[in-house]
């Protein structure tokens, strides 16, 4: 009898066991180890020396690059996140239109998101090349002399933003599925009341998809801070270190300069910054994110209060 009861309670845990093991071994373990490493001077080979908060202190007192790279990453995020959201929203609106062949467009817009970022970097390094790149050639056709995208420090960050906006498809798809869920009756009712397309978008679509917006906002903030592959392959941090993102700096400290401890400290500082930003967004979300269930609960309360 007892045995049976044990099995009954244990069964669900067996089901998730593979995942738990994976999490412990591949996520939590390394996470913990990197936290420990961040308190050590941890070269690849040779003695590891405990330095307490030394790595963290060094980051903010001796290493100018930390603040510079942080600035670059912040600037990138500040431009990339809103741009990406607007672009994704715009494309999602386009592919919800009841048009012929819209499925083809949906696929076309999504394809870049399915390409590995290594391939994307290589494609864009060809597109953006100032001598034989196709982008500057196209610009020259309409009489514009394109900048040296990957050579001029003033333009390189935009080149990176351009290339990363290429992967907008995933976000577009998330917006799209949410928009598809909005019942057409609401739009019909609005039309009868005389609302135009713009009014319908701002008063119906946008408020209803705010939870998705929140999700996309947070994931894109996180991913923009973690951006490494693209800058590593597209610009290598250059020209003149104008795209030396924080993530790339961390990577170089670890795998180029072999300062594992210091790089772990870099990573944890980034983790904390992302955590704070995410918390901030969450905190603000009560002001602009609307959950249907919340509204309903509120109404009930009000009604009850009214009685």
């Amino acid at each position: 009898m007892k045995k049976k009861k044990f099995l009954k309670t244990a069964t669900p845990y067996f089901f998730i066991l593979p995942w738990i093991i994976g999490f412990l071994v591949f996520t939590f373990g390394p996470l913990l180890l990197s936290l420990i490493m961040s308190f050590f001077d941890w070269p690849l080979t040779g003695e590891k020396v405990f330095v307490g908060l030394g790595n963290y202190i060094e980051m903010f007192t001796q290493d100018d690059q930390v603040l510079k790279s942080l600035g670059i990453s912040l600037r990138y995020a500040a431009i990339f996140v809103p741009l990406n959201l607007i672009l994704a929203l715009f494309l999602a609106m386009l592919i919800t239109q009841p048009l012929r062949g819209v499925k083809v467009y949906r696929a076309i817009f999504y394809i870049p998101a399915a390409i590995s970022s290594v391939a994307i970097s290589i494609i864009w390094s060809w597109i953006l090349n100032s001598d034989y790149g196709v982008l500057n050639y196209l610009l020259s056709l309409i009489g514009i002399e394109g900048p040296d995208w990957l050579v001029d420090p003033a333009w390189a960050i935009f080149a990176v933003i351009l290339a990363s906006a290429f992967g907008v498809g995933t976000m577009m798809l998330i917006f799209y599925t949410d928009m598809k869920n909005i019942s057409t009756e609401i739009y019909e009712a609005a039309s009868i009341d005389g609302a135009g397309p713009a009014r319908k978008f701002f008063s119906i679509t946008l408020p209803i998809i705010t939870p998705t917006l929140l999700f996309n906002l947070i994931t894109s903030i996180i991913s923009s801070f973690q951006q490494v592959t693209l800058v590593m392959l597209l610009t290598g941090g250059g020209p003149l270190q104008s795209t030396y993102f924080y993530g790339l700096m961390t990577y170089n400290n670890a795998f180029k300069h072999h300062k594992m401890g210091y790089a772990s400290a870099n990573a944890w500082v980034m983790f904390i910054i992302i955590l704070l930003l995410t918390a901030l967004v969450f905190k603000s979300s009560s002001a602009w994110v609307f959950y249907e269930s919340e509204v309903k609960a509120d109404n009930k309360k009000k009604k009850r209060g009214g009685k």
């Binding site: 089901f15 093991i21 690849l44 050579v151 180029k256």
Partner: protein, 409 residues
């Protein structure tokens, strides 16, 4: 009954996950009486297939040793770093960056001594310098390249300029480049906008200086007059617009025929042959006032043994095989042979696209790259690269003395 079955299934599933999870690391390294050797390479694609053939051949010839090839590709450094950090380094691995990794490598001097003098002297002497650190040898040379001047014969013909020769100086190159830029659509010469500091030191050597002294002290060397001369010369060529600085290594521009000359390693030969570019190769021009031949950096690869390897004798057996004449011959086309006997027997010196690389090799003895002298080279190199880019990037073109002064700090 159904539930019982489900539970059994789950138990089995989780058991296999756990077992397979552990299986990876508890691989018995001498199962079946064979000593297992792990061998890491950085090569990719067809090169790996070729290497696998050579490995298979070794395995056939040896009953007691089994070598497995692990191709790390572009992750090579990351994986070797991680391997050394966790004590799980492959027994044998390709190596070039000795200053960064020699702590985890086995000194090979005793093994080499046992093979006798002739074994060692059959390798080109300069190559040993590049496989050493602090007086100990950590790798057996596998391949190398020096750098040479590539020139596009068609563009030279079009401009009516004589082809470069081995006794050219930079003045000759500049004169030719000017004429070419004037008479054709191509630029006369190209060099890298963001050169690898490791490579660029050869120009300083050629002009009688270097990045630093034997103790790694840079002040008075990289900012010396001779050094400034070098940087100034390249920057002036760019400013006068008969040379251009390239975003990449310059091969693409050369292939496209948009530049007539550039300096690069033997890596370009296969690509240029495939493209059917009508090109020639010669030694790098000398500095007229330096009173010496030009010198090249070596990009060399060696084969090293992990100091943690449990089967060092078997590993050495494999290293010897991988660096012997047979394998040197098999690699021709992907690597320049490093053995005197192979270069002779295969008539490499008669092939005009390969011979200059060996001439440069002989001219380049007796220089130690700064990466072997400066302790935190990878960080110093990053600073140097930034300074070089400040000098050569067309959107900054900083004054040479100022940029080099900031490189010293």
């Amino acid at each position: 009954m159904k539930r019982k079955l489900a539970v059994v299934c789950i138990m089995m599933l989780s058991a296999t996950t756990i077992l397979s999870g552990c299986g990876g690391s508890s691989d018995d390294s001498s199962s079946g009486g064979k000593t297992k050797i792990r061998f890491a390479t950085w090569d990719v694609a067809e090169d790996v297939d070729k290497q696998q053939e050579l490995v298979d051949k070794f395995n056939e010839e040896h009953d007691d040793i089994e070598v497995t090839l692990e191709a790390y590709g572009s992750d090579f450094d990351t994986k070797i770093s991680a391997g050394m950090g966790s004590g799980d380094t492959p027994d044998v691995m390709y190596m070039w960056n000795y200053p960064a990794y020699y702590d985890g490598l086995e000194p090979l001097d005793d093994y080499i001594a046992e093979e006798g003098d002739e074994y060692k002297s059959n390798f080109y002497n300069t190559l040993w310098d590049y496989n050493m650190m602090d007086g100990s040898t950590y790798g057996i040379p596998v391949g190398f390249t020096t750098h040479c001047l590539f020139y596009n014969k068609d563009i030279f013909d079009e401009a009516g300029v004589e082809y470069p020769t081995a006794d050219w100086t930079w003045d000759d190159l500049q004169a030719a480049a000017k004429t070419i830029s004037e008479k054709t659509d191509a630029k006369g010469f190209s060099f890298q906008m963001k050169p690898d500091p490791y490579d660029f030191e050869m120009y300083l050597w050629s002009n009688g200086t270097s990045y630093c002294d034997e103790n790694g002290e840079m002040d008075g060397y990289i900012n010396s007059e001779e050094s400034q001369e070098v940087f100034q010369m390249f920057q002036d060529m760019e400013k006068d617009e008969y040379a251009t600085s390239t975003e990449g290594d310059g091969t693409d521009e050369f292939r496209a025929g948009s530049t007539a000359m550039y300096v690069y390693g033997s890596w370009a030969i296969n690509t240029l042959n495939e493209d059917g570019v009508n090109y020639g190769v010669t030694t790098i021009p000398a500095f007229a006032d330096a009173g010496q031949d030009s010198v090249s950096i070596l990009s060399s690869s060696g084969l090293s043994m992990s100091k943690d390897s449990e089967h060092k004798d078997a590993a050495w057996e494999f290293i010897k095989y991988w660096t012997n004449e047979e394998c040197n011959k098999a690699r021709i086309g992907t690597e320049l042979p490093v053995l005197n006997t192979v270069v002779e027997s295969e008539g490499i010196m008669e092939q005009e696209e390969y011979a200059p690389f060996y001439t440069m090799l002989e001219q380049s003895q007796g220089h130690t790259p700064a990466s072997f002298l400066i302790d935190s080279w990878s960080e110093v190199a990053e600073n140097l690269q930034l300074s070089f880019e400040q000098i050569f990037n067309p959107s900054s073109l900083q004054p040479v003395d100022k940029a080099l002064e900031s490189a010293v700090q």
